[in-house]
Symmetry: C2
Subunit: 140 residues, 2 copies
DNA sequence: CTCGTTGTAACCATTATAGTTACATCGATT
DNA sequence: AATCGATGTAACTATAATGGTTACAACGAG
């Protein structure tokens, strides 16, 4: 299967940079991530929409809207990895209603899927941007 | 982002069917899942490679290689959702080494990613095909 | 007014998914 | 032996996500 996109790691990287150096331009971030500035701007756009980041027009520069310990990795994940109905697992859509097994399996399988997703999200929710930067931020 | 493919739910569906009706043909499964038989055969191929299923050549018919309580949803997931290096999360590949943040973030972010994946897998590992079928299997 | 920056639009190449047709091959039955 | 249903693949298609790219309008500060 396809991996979860690099938008998540890129977003986390640039947000961590913002936690140190306050106003940062897209080109500076693109230099650190080593990708095209437009890729960065698209991600910044998603982070803005999620309310994690403010961008100054004209002169440029992005900064966090709150403290790094108020932003979890789940906040970042949900900002850049948007999935339909916030449901990660697909379920084949036309199971034959004449098949008693399909009908009965669906409910419990969907529940397990949902629990699995929730367990993953919980791990992301327990780590803040602050914790991630960790030792580095002590030096500030 | 893209959802996890329907192969997982389809594979679980047809394995649950096999837990009841022992030798099952691909066309019967395709009828219950309501998809093309070739899609089923491709999934069966993956389940065979993972050692979960036996297929009788010529006359046809697939059956489980072990009891339904010896097959977990994680077994099924790993059989049909193969991801490079078994690592679900991507990490952008050329972070600039001159950026101290990128370098320092990578290790801890990768750890959290790995924990999140493990938490999800653990939920899948705790449910067996037998448990999923649940009440239905009591009637056997 | 100019300059650097941002926000988008418009492409492009690559890849995964899901479906489809076609066909060689196998084993059992007649 | 010939036939029949079933499996295993190859080949092709359409659709969509990802990641990169160029181009350009708009904005604010100097």
């Amino acid at each position: 299967m396809r991996k979860i996109s690099s938008r998540f790691s890129i977003a986390t990287h640039i947000l961590a940079m913002m936690a140190f150096n306050h106003p940062l331009t897209g080109d500076q971030m693109a230099g650190s991530v080593q990708t095209n500035p437009v890729v960065i701007r698209r991600i910044i756009g998603q982070l803005k929409k999620a309310g994690l980041v403010n961008v100054k027009a004209g002169t440029g520069g992005a900064r966090l809207t709150r403290d790094a310990d108020q932003i979890t990795l789940l906040d970042i994940f949900n900002a850049v990895e948007v999935v339909e109905d916030n449901v990660l697992f697909n379920f084949h859509e036309h199971p034959n209603l004449d098949c008693p097994i399909g009908a009965n399996i669906e409910r419990s399988l969907r529940r397990t899927m949902s629990e699995a997703q929730a367990a993953m999200e919980d791990k992301l929710a327990r780590v803040t941007l602050r914790q991630l930067a960790g030792e580095l931020m002590e030096l500030e």
